[in-house]
Amino acid sequence: MFTLGSVLDNELKSSVEDFSFETEFSTNQLMLPNIEKPFEFAQSIISLEKDLDENDNQPMFHQQKKEERKERALIKGSKGTTTLAFIYEKGTVVAVDSRATSGQYIASQSVQKVVPVNQYMLGTLAGGAADCQFFLGHLGRICNLYELRNNEKISVAAASKLLNNILYSYRNYGLSVGSMICGYDTRGPQLYYIDSDGSRLKNSLFSVGSGSPFAYGVLDAGYRWDLSKEDAIDLGRRAICAATFKDSYSGGTVKVYHIDENGWVKISDDDASELWYRYEEKEKKNK
């Protein structure tokens, strides 16, 4: 529906006029249909799950439009997935499920929800698959260019800030991205959560998606900074397993990755349902 081109964001540019130096990072490259009010058109056909709930901080006219949007929604975005990541003493652990659903239909059980940005950074995918894949791939290109131009590895903070600024400039266009940028750089293991509303948060553990409350339960209960590598990977795997057990929008296979100073490595890829019963067997044996 949308093709790449260029559109001028006059308001954004005029308010930062003082800072106008051209960089390829500061472009707003989405072309909208050639009609009178393209921005409102984009808003009118896209509805996100969160828009259907009460949103206290939205201005009045946004709330009025919400009702119209609900009725005319042709594209529905929801973050039906479970992804998690956490940092600990020896690196970063990233664990994801691999189910894609469209309504109640399971579209695929083998989706790649982890996109490598470069050798030492991974991005996770939650929300709209196309949006996430495109923007994370784009981030990979920008990071590569940065390395070539500046002859040094880009930090996770800088990469996440670049993605954040790009997504912020598209914040009312109906994108659905709930991504985590996980990596290891000179400051150690780093983890940032990036959202399509423009939020960027740094913390030691995050879980994103419809199954995230379930994953948080297991993760918060077992997390410590000084975990061993084996225990950390097991914690990530168990948390996703628990989420796939409870959440119908998560399932498929559980993929676990580990990032340390040598880069990222895929640790395991297990079927979620088999994994659950394997853990049950283990518990029985331990008793």
Binding site: E11, L12, S15, V16, D18, F19, K50, D53, D56, N57, Q58, P59, H62, N164, N165, Y168, R171, Y193, D195, D197, G198, S199, R200, L201, K202, N203, F206, S212, P213, Y216
Partner: protein, 208 residues
């Protein structure tokens, strides 16, 4: 869901904000600093959407820095408040920023602290005491009753804790952790990171 409380005392300004960052019912981060320093003697306390807050505060901070570099002089709190209000007002009908702010600052010239209340709609008011978010409902009356002009720092801190205790006690959404910052002639300093725990009606414990 964000709570910000601030008031002006004798040669200082105290501002407190809760440290939660969340999405719908989930708390994503519980050590989130909402009291952003604009320069050495001004704080912009933000509440509302995280993304808008980050980007808007960055906009203000960088433009204030640019002014300082170009003109070799610091802006007063009043000027920054007016500039911020103007940015919010011009954006509201085009590209609204969903942020409500408390701007606190100390001016060396006047040797006085000042506090401004700024709204996402572009309203701005110089206040002696005030709050943003749900905290405003509970804390407004406490400040009306107990705030006096030229409060000492100890009395001011006690009043602030009284306000935060009330927020923790009555707001059903759990906000236990607050960060209190002070601005005075020496600049910005973190006073306390308070975790409030009201176990029963009469006993109230605080842990730092």
């Amino acid at each position: 869901m964000d709570s910000l409380v601030g008031f002006v005392g004798k040669n200082y300004v105290l501002i407190a904000g809760d440290t939660n960052a969340g999405r719908s019912i989930m708390r994503l981060k519980d050590d989130f600093d909402k009291l952003v320093p604009i320069d050495s003697h001004k704080i912009l306390a933000k509440s509302g959407e995280i993304g808008d807050g980050n980007q808007f505060c960055n906009l203000i901070i960088r433009n204030v820095s640019l002014y300082r570099i170009r003109n070799e002089t610091e802006l007063t709190t009043k000027s920054v408040a007016h500039y911020t209000r103007r940015q919010l007002a011009t954006a509201i009908r085009k590209n609204p920023y969903s942020v409500n702010l408390l701007l606190g600052g100390y001016d060396k010239k006047d040797q006085k602290g000042s506090l401004y209340y700024l709204d996402y709609l572009g309203s701005s008011k110089k206040i002696n005491y005030g709050a943003q978010g749900y905290a405003a409902l509970f804390v407004g009356s406490i400040l009306d009753r107990f705030w006096k002009e030229d409060l000492d720092f100890e009395d001011g801190l006690e009043l602030m804790k009284k306000c935060l205790r009330e927020v923790e006690k009555r707001l059903i959404i759990g906000t236990r952790c607050f960060l209190i910052k002070m601005i005075n002639s020496d600049g910005i300093s973190v006073v306390e990171k308070v975790m409030i725990n009201s176990k029963n009606k009469n006993e109230i414990e605080e842990e730092n």
